[in-house]
């Protein structure tokens, strides 16, 4: 299938705008974490994942797990933009009585299979899904999006050990490597480098890409498995807060929500870029 770059970038812009409005209304955090992975989500949900809003529970659908559960707002926006549920639901984000929580929730939310929020859980679940597909000969694929800070968790490395042992080439991990974790720069808190070498040494096939280059993301994710019988990992080099100049690569946007004026400025920037 021909990749429509313009459509993909437009989707990303819409996701960013929706996410901004949600986070602003809810006075919620994690906008920076949402924006670093938005381009990845746009390509995945722009046609790469075999999922359909008409059959959100079909056995053969590709599975997508957001292991960095704090990026929930961007995924809700992505699903709404793709027709999994009405966009009006997004207005409830962070509001009393909402089914959309700040860390991703599955219950009554079409298109979401697993709730996460405590870091280090998703990749193990993804291994289970991939193993079930292998053993039961289902041809769905499993994608798991991780944060960099999350890779401090030991359980992630348990799963990294497991997947190559069981030859899970139907499993793809994507790391949103925006280089900032909760208290500062990853390399200053708990350095992951040499990060790609670590995955490689554990038996994964690694690709390092610019996580904001839609064409490259698409090209990379359409060539999985990179090697037969090996799990794939895409280390996506990203920028926290990508898309809004005053948020980019700034730790504070892990926590802050934009005020009215910042919202307007940010939305204007996103419109100009689109």
């Amino acid at each position: 299938m021909e990749f429509d770059l313009k459509a993909s970038e437009d989707l990303a812009a819409r996701i960013r705008s929706q996410t901004l409005r949600m986070v602003h209304r809810a006075k919620a955090s994690h906008i920076g974490s949402c924006f670093s992975m938005t381009d990845l989500l746009a390509v995945l949900y722009g046609g790469l994942l075999r999922v359909s809003p008409d059959l959100p529970g079909s056995m053969d659908r590709d599975r997508f797990l957001l292991s960095k559960g704090h990026g929930a707002a961007a995924v809700y926006a992505t699903l709404a933009e793709n027709g999994f549920f009405p966009k009006s639901w997004l207005d409830t984000y962070g509001q009393d009585g909402s089914v959309l929580s700040g860390h991703i929730s599955h219950y009554d939310v079409p298109g979401i299979d697993f709730s996460t929020g405590s870091l280090g859980h998703g990749l193990s679940i993804a291994c289970g899904l991939a193993l079930a597909a292998k053993r039961k000969k289902h041809d769905y694929r499993t994608f798991c999006l991780l944060s960099d800070g999350e890779c401090d968790e030991g359980s992630i490395w348990e799963a990294i050990l497991f997947a190559p042992q069981f030859k899970l080439d139907n499993l793809t991990a994507i790391v949103d490597y925006n280089k900032i974790q909760s208290f500062g720069r990853v390399k200053e808190i708990l350095n992951l480098e040499p990060f790609a070498d670590k995955w490689r040494a554990f038996g994964w096939e690694v690709r390092e890409i610019d996580g904001h280059d839609h064409q490259l993301i698409h090209q990379t994710l359409t060539s999985i498995p990179f090697v037969a019988n090996k799990p794939s990992v895409v280390i996506a080099h990203t920028i926290k807060g990508k898309g809004v100049s005053f948020m980019e690569d700034r730790l504070e946007w892990h926590y802050k929500s934009p005020n009215d004026q910042q919202l307007e400025t940010a939305l204007r920037e996103l419109r100009r870029a689109a």
Binding site: D113, L123, S124, A132, R135
Partner: protein, 310 residues
């Protein structure tokens, strides 16, 4: 109990192809029968319990029924948050089986004493918590757990526990079984303390002519409140007996019910492990006596107090 468990699981797996067995690299010389028969439904995840729970959640979300096997605290406390978030939050049909519950690994050290998990798992929403008292209850509990969809925990002893049920009992999760009838007092047991309770009941019957009822409360959650209330309303005293911390487990679960129930006159007492770290090691029997005291003595005290009061 572990032999009864694996033999039963093997039978169930013959009928129910959704049944898988996962281990975190424990069960040597126990699990082989299953592994040989169903290699494609067996996974050894390595020594990685947190990962095992997540994997089980992924498998269960596709309709597989994973049974997770490990010992003592490893498949429970070690990965508690995975059980809470990955399994209970998603209401998945995953069964956790721990061998060596209580003080079965007494001489192996405090790390291997599984003495808080009943209370901790009991707090998780939707979790069924079962501690069978003998190999017969183990077989029946395994069968019933497989019919029950949702998160479950099965606490087993080790090997070679005696069969305590002389006849095939009716068995349902959440419904306690009476193994000795009596009107002079009642022991409500969970897990492998059932044998001790029967021994004490029989001894008191022989020596003092008193008839102590013995109830196997194999299911701690959901608790058989009806049976508990019947006992405290019919009998002069009721004592819960468990190889578990005095906080959180069977005694605590019963206390919660009784505190709200009212309308009973029985004296209620809990028999279990003190709420402190144990630094002394030895056989299961040695540690039971050391840490919990003498069950027979406790029962005789209760009976005597009852006579004095009468």
């Amino acid at each position: 109990m572990r032999t009864a468990f694996i033999d039963t699981l093997l039978n169930i797996a013959e009928q129910d192809e959704r049944v898988w067995l996962l281990t975190a690299d424990l069960g040597f010389s126990v699990l082989e029968k299953f592994i040989e028969r169903f290699p494609d439904r067996y996974v050894n995840v390595g020594v990685a319990e947190q990962n095992m729970i997540g994997i089980a959640a992924g498998l269960a979300s596709t309709g597989i029924k994973p049974y997770l096997y490990s010992i003592a605290n490893f498949p429970t406390l070690r990965c508690l948050e995975q059980i809470r978030n990955d399994i209970c939050y998603h209401e998945l049909d995953v069964k956790i089986v721990s061998v060596g519950g209580g003080l079965a690994y007494g001489s192996q050290g405090y790390t291997h004493h599984g003495v808080e998990e009943l209370g901790i798992l009991r707090m998780l929403p939707g979790m069924t918590v079962v501690a069978p008292g003998d190999p017969v209850e183990t077989r029946l509990a395994t069968q019933e757990l497989n019919k029950h969809s949702g998160p479950g925990y099965l606490r087993l002893g080790k090997a070679n526990e005696p069969v305590l049920h002389e006849n095939e009992p009716g068995f349902r999760l959440g419904q306690a079984n009476v193994l000795r009838t009596g009107r002079d007092g009642c022991l409500i047991s969970t897990g492998a303390m059932l044998g001790e309770c029967l021994r004490v009941s029989d001894q008191v019957r022989q020596e003092n002519g008193l008839e102590i009822r013995v109830v196997s409360m194999h299911t701690i959650k959901p608790l058989d409140e009806t049976m508990l209330l019947k006992c405290v309303r019919e009998l002069p005293w009721v004592m819960t007996v468990e190889e578990h911390s005095i906080t959180g487990g069977l005694g605590a679960a019963c206390s919660e019910v009784l505190a709200e129930a009212g309308n009973f006159r029985a004296r209620f007492q809990r028999f279990g492990l003190p709420d402190r770290v144990n630094h002394t090691f030895g056989s299961q029997q040695f540690l039971r006596n050391l840490l919990m005291g003498d069950l027979l003595e406790e029962v005789q005290l209760l009976c005597r107090a009852r006579r004095l009061a009468a």
